[in-house]
């Protein structure tokens, strides 16, 4: 027996070690918790030791790299910063206008969803985290971040960037957490194609590209179609961008199903900072509501600056040269008087004599109707001022209205008859007077 052991000692030790590890694998896979993705206590402990051993080096490297890069970017390489700032400010203005124009639609959508009992989830709170490491292999596409349970991170929290979805939290340690990316082969993310409204499950393939599997052939699916989260997996909020359809291929393992290869919206290969969504709710967060209101007010200011015909109203002065007191808000507003026309015609109020004074068959005075032979462009009266109680969001609605006007027409207040006639839009107010109203 001793000779047998000494002869096959190497092989025996190898077999024992392999057997022990196979049994360990079987135990880990057999545990019910393995289905949900969590580890047993012992396995978790081993992972914790290794992560505690590796992550300090990763943090140190990351800190050093960020320090060097920050010094370069913040103090040395500052070219074009002013121009960039100017461009960004212009973009912010444009986005505020867009946001205010979409806010009403969004609020209406929420009201309708509420009526239908649809539970929309909104992102309430996020925690920003630095990516400090990876799993290190192609077969396991995981990331490590520098935030853990001490920062309020828990398992199964979604992780995103402003570009799109990154993955979800799997293992959480006190100061570190592990993210399984959406392009990992074991991941599963409920998605929906934005245009065709097809639903599917997205996971990674062997090369690390996300793909939607088990899709029946459909000619409507075209490259470039956006893919968003469906919310059906109870992890990711609905509507987050996931990527765009790159191409559709037949699935060799599961005919006749197709696989849709997706180009991820987030740059999964070069992630530095991510946001962990730590809290979601069914109503719009107050911060976003405040932001919408601010955007609407800003949009009104931007419009006031851009529209050439708009000028701030001067306070009305009394006979003594002092401004008149403001009207009592409890009283009904006085009737709106149209401004005096520049070129009166027979349709001008007050220009036509009363019917009792008219003689059948008699002609009208020629000085009032000089343009009977040749048609004159109609003059659009300046719209009445909006009431004080008018919602500021109405400012945004006429944005397109203002854009469709030619600069000359909008500045002069005249509209070509072919494009706009008073009969077609008799009482539609423009945005100009609204901007003069003080915001409540």
């Amino acid at each position: 027996m001793e000779s047998f052991y000494s002869r096959y000692r190497n092989v025996l030790i190898l077999v024992v070690i392999l057997l022990a590890q196979v049994i360990g694998l079987a135990v880990q896979v057999r545990r019910p918790a393995a289905i949900t993705g969590s580890d047993g206590r012992q396995v978790r402990l081993i992972r914790y030791w290794v992560v505690s051993l590796i992550s300090p080096f990763e943090r140190a490297f990351l800190f050093t790299g960020h320090g060097i890069r920050g010094a370069w970017n913040g103090y040395i390489d500052l070219r074009h910063v002013r121009q960039n700032n100017k461009d960004l400010q212009a973009e912010v203005d444009r986005l505020r206008l867009e946001q205010s124009s979409l806010a009403e639609d969004a609020l209406q959508g929420q009201r309708l969803q509420k009526l239908l009992g649809f539970k929309q989830q909104y992102i309430y709170q996020t925690v920003a985290a630095q990516v400090i490491g990876t799993g290190g292999t192609d077969q396991s596409r995981v990331l490590y971040i520098d935030k853990g349970s001490s920062d309020g991170i828990h398992a199964d929290m979604p992780v995103v960037t402003p570009d799109g979805v990154v993955g979800k939290i799997r293992d959480v340690f006190p100061h570190t957490a592990q993210i399984v990316e959406i392009n990992d082969q074991t991941s599963g993310l409920g998605v929906i194609l934005q245009k065709t409204r097809l639903r599917g499950i997205l996971r990674g393939n062997a090369t690390g590209q996300p793909e939607i599997v088990n899709i029946l052939p459909d000619e409507r699916i075209q490259p470039g179609e956006p893919v968003i989260t469906s919310g059906g997996d109870q992890v990711y909020p609905r509507g987050l961008p996931v990527g765009i359809v790159e191409r559709v291929i037949s699935d060799p393992d599961r005919p006749p199903y197709m696989a849709i290869l997706v180009h991820p919206a987030a740059r999964l290969a070069r992630l530095e900072e991510v946001l962990v969504i730590t809290r979601i709710g069914s109503t719009l967060p107050s911060s976003e509501e405040t932001d919408i209101i601010t955007s609407e007010q800003k949009a009104a200011d931007i419009l006031a600056e851009r529209l050439p015909g708009v000028a701030p109203t001067e306070p009305k002065l009394g006979p003594d040269g002092k401004p008149l007191p403001a009207a009592n808000p409890n009283l009904p507003p006085p009737p709106v008087q149209p401004p005096l026309p520049l070129h009166p015609d027979r349709f001008t109020p007050g220009a036509t004599p009363p019917a009792t004074d008219l003689t059948p068959g008699a002609s009208y005075p020629t000085q009032i109707f000089p343009a009977q032979t040749a048609p004159q462009p109609t003059t659009k009266p300046i719209a009445p001022a909006a009431t004080a109680g008018q919602d500021a969001s109405h400012v945004a609605a006429p944005v397109h209205h203002a854009k469709t006007l030619s600069p000359a027409a909008s500045s002069a207040g005249t509209i070509p008859p072919a494009t706009k006639s008073p009969a077609k839009q008799p009482a539609k107010p423009t945005a100009q007077p609204t901007t003069q109203e003080p915001q409540p």
Binding site: I17, L18, L25, Q28, G37, R47, T137, S140, Q185
Partner: protein, 173 residues
């Protein structure tokens, strides 16, 4: 590839390394494997822990030592992934054992031998991984021959350079 006779096998150098090197080099390899793909995504195609396992197993020419070292490196590598512990542990144990066994019979200081050895062991690593994940764990995993061949070639080429660097750390008996 020069095969060695029984007599010359006894004459082979068994290289020894300082304990610090034996501990720090694998740790550094695992750290680099986890950190560098963040900055260089293509780096993930490399398997530095595998190269280090092969090197130390071959240099020490002791199958038991190679098996144990491979197991330790593999389990540490597994702990950084989200897959069950033991996948890389089994693979690296087999690779360490075979490397040490081959090192007893073949002159592994030859760059050509090293290149072929690393190429074969990288492919073996991929095949074992596929077998364990698909057969033992019942998980789904795709296989692309081209990707695996590229991976094997890259590992072999980088391994040659690393082996040369690591040769400077060894102590002759």
């Amino acid at each position: 590839m020069a095969l060695l006779s029984n007599n010359s096998r006894e004459e082979l150098d068994k290289h020894r390394f300082p304990l610090l090197v034996m501990f720090l080099v694998p740790l550094l390899a695992i750290f680099a494997q986890a950190y560098l793909p963040l900055r260089f995504p293509r780096f993930a195609v490399l398997d530095l822990p595998l190269i280090v396992t092969v090197y130390f197993a071959v240099a020490r020419r002791n199958p038991i030592s190679g098996t144990l070292l491979g197991t330790a490196i593999g389990l540490t590598q597994d702990a950084l992934t989200h897959l069950p512990l033991g996948i890389n542990g089994i693979i690296k144990a087999v690779v360490g054992y075979l490397s040490a066994s081959i090192g007893m019979r073949i002159d592994v200081d030859n760059p050509g031998t090293r290149l072929i050895m690393l190429f074969v062991f990288t492919l073996l690593d991929s095949i074992l991984h596929l077998f364990i994940v698909r057969r033992l764990l019942g998980l789904q995993q795709d296989w692309y021959w081209l990707h695996e061949l590229i991976r094997a070639v890259v590992n072999a080429l980088v391994g040659i350079i690393l082996f040369t660097l690591l040769d400077r750390l060894r102590q002759r008996e």
